[in-house]
Subunit: 375 residues, 2 copies
DNA sequence: TTGTATGCGTTATCAT
DNA sequence: ATGATAACGCATACAA
């Protein structure tokens, strides 16, 4: 099953044809040899160079640099001095090779620019770099198995310590499944793990959809319409919470209006709701959808919130400044990312598979939602 | 000069204390040895394993895998089969170590979530992964030299082929200067290189500010006010274009109102403009500032665009759906990123330092800007 | 405490 | 065309 398609294997076996920068011939370090491009035959100083400079053995340098073994203060000082003078930097590739100690992690995601994805990535990066890990990012564009497999190969080739998959959509879900469990993998998601196989840190989208819907119902709306973003799996996430909340009180469950992520998409999706007088409240899958919906409403002359309440999801920066300011379900994506890394790091450190963790959504009441009676 | 501060040297010398996953003892591959955590003593198959499986020498496998030398079809097939069966993946660390061939690049940036930064990153990632490079991201939070130095060390430790610095702000500028020129570095920026030392791909922010201002003036506004984002250097970028355009026609140059990047920041900055009747047009450093400004205006009862025209920068997705739809200077950040990588890749391939390149801004006319007479 | 020697997975050089 | 073998830079088991 993990056996990659021929094309995938092919592509992954072809590293980029990059010219080596060490254009100087042979073994002469610090060479005065002729160089095509100035400044590019530098050998970065290595343990050996530092050792020579400090007049100690290579392994002594290694010891002070890694700090794993005791070294006399006298030598330690000499080594540290040499390190500073030469500008020595450990070679992570060599370290990984010899010790198996990996100092980078990978983040796999379908997208890195949309609000939630970018925020999660930021949280991960923040926590990872604070812990001394480098972050490699791999965007998986489609759920084409060959593409996914290529991305996974790319990541695994670079011997990362672990992987965090952003599983906000079906591509993320497929990616998560494609990563072999020969290394620690945690998911940053919108719902807990279904198969209970990989640890998940998740925003409770289901709960978010539920509280938003319950709030709208509590305002007096007979039902709540819903313009949705694509979901990770059928009947999951925000839409599921919306549906459950409606069903729980026996309210009518209107057809879900599926959209994508963009404002335009929301604008288009809203068309089907514009002329229906029973539409007094619309829950949108994200804030961008919400402003598209709001514009469509306004163009049709239906006032927000007097005639129709609109609620978003995410609490993007513009939501607070919108006219009217947008009621929305705030999500702490950055915290999600930080927490995902924390789990991974714990796994790495202890060797024990961590448990799922959840980040609670928070309903932020603003101007775009009011009781229907005001219409 | 490149000699790092003591603290910097210290931190960079301490790799994360990660447990090795090869918990199995000794040299026994494919071991049935006891494992603390199931599935984690796997040795990934190596050239040696493939060679054994295919019944050829290690170097033959290497040759078919790299494709650099001729191998008979018969052996090639055997090797390919073994590769597929074993799920062999080349070890990038070992490749980099022995051949100096690097298969990853690094992106250094102050931020990865804001629109322009995220878009640029996306473009880079897209192009890089298409070319077979992995992308490592390093966020540089402040211009504290120690932080910058630590980030640079982190990146260089991982033997990247080259670096792209997103130079949209002063931290980016400092970062660019901190990266040694022992490897190829290109900047993705908002203006051309000043010192002409490192190749720049840039969005012409100066031009963007100019065309937006000229447009507003052409509408009949006596002058244009300006709420600005932080700039890379004094009198640079968008603000500079604005100022130049005003000066060029002898229009009054109002005090620049400095802000940050957020809508709230724009809202706050706008306060000083609210009661000034001479304010009929406001150019904002980005779209988020623009909506903050617009809200402040609305709260004070000044209608947009009838009384005050508002123009943004970037063309974020919400700009088109704003009420009124936002006139703005569109920037192709993704293209900027793609182009930055293209330059780096060219440099890597040819060894020749590439020339600067520019991405033109584009003024998008929408509803938020009208002639002042309409007020 | 310090130094010497071995090998991590791969490419490249040298034979064959 | 193919197979041995020597590095690459580093951590570590072992010797001193």
């Amino acid at each position: 099953m993990a056996s990659p398609a021929a094309s995938g294997a092919r592509s992954r076996l072809r590293p980029p044809e990059v010219l080596s920068w060490r254009m100087a011939g042979g073994r002469d370090r610090a060479g005065g040899s002729l160089r095509t491009v100035p400044g590019f035959d530098h050998h970065d100083p290595g343990l050996r160079d530092v050792a020579a400079r400090a007049g100690v053995s290579l392994s002594t340098v290694s010891r002070v640099v890694t700090g794993r073994t005791q070294v006399s203060d006298r030598l330690k000082q000499r080594v540290l001095a040499a390190v500073a003078e030469l500008g020595y930097r450990p070679n992570a590739a060599a370290q990984a090779l010899v010790s198996g100690r990996r100092s980078s992690i990978a983040v796999m995601a379908r997208n890195t620019t949309r609000f939630g994805y970018a925020g999660t990535l930021q949280g991960i990066e923040e926590a990872a770099s604070a812990a001394g890990y480098a972050v490699m990012i791999a965007v998986v564009e489609s759920d084409d198995p060959a593409r996914i497999s290529a991305a996974v190969d790319q990541v695994l080739s670079h011997s990362v310590a672990g992987v965090i998959v952003i599983e906000f959509d079906d591509v993320g879900r497929a990616t998560l499944e494609a990563v072999p469990d020969s290394l620690p993998v945690v998911a940053a998601a919108g719902a807990p793990s279904v198969e209970r196989t990989r640890p998940h840190v998740y925003l409770d989208d289901d709960l978010g959809g539920r509280i938003a819907t319950e709030y709208l119902l509590s305002l007096g709306h007979r039902t709540v319409h819903h313009v949705s973003i694509p979901s990770t799996r059928p009947d999951s996430g925000r839409s599921r919470g919306w549906r459950r909340a409606l069903e729980a009180v026996g309210a009518e469950v209107p057809d879900e209006v599926p959209a994508l992520y963009s404002p335009e998409s929301g604008y288009g999706a809203a068309q089907s709701l514009l002329d229906d007088p029973s539409v007094t409240a619309i829950l949108c899958g994200n804030d961008e959808l919400a402003i598209g919906v709001a514009r469509a409403l306004a163009e049709r002359g239906r006032k927000v919130p007097e005639e129709v309440s609109v609620v978003g999801f995410d609490d993007q920066p513009f939501a607070r400044m919108w006219l009217p300011a947008l009621t929305t379900v705030a999500q702490d994506f950055t915290e999600l990312g930080r927490h995902a890394f924390a789990l991974l790091e714990q796994w790495l450190r202890t060797g024990a598979v961590p448990a799922d963790a959840v980040i609670e959504p928070r309903l932020v009441l603003r101007e775009s939602s009011v009781p229907p009676s005001l219409g």
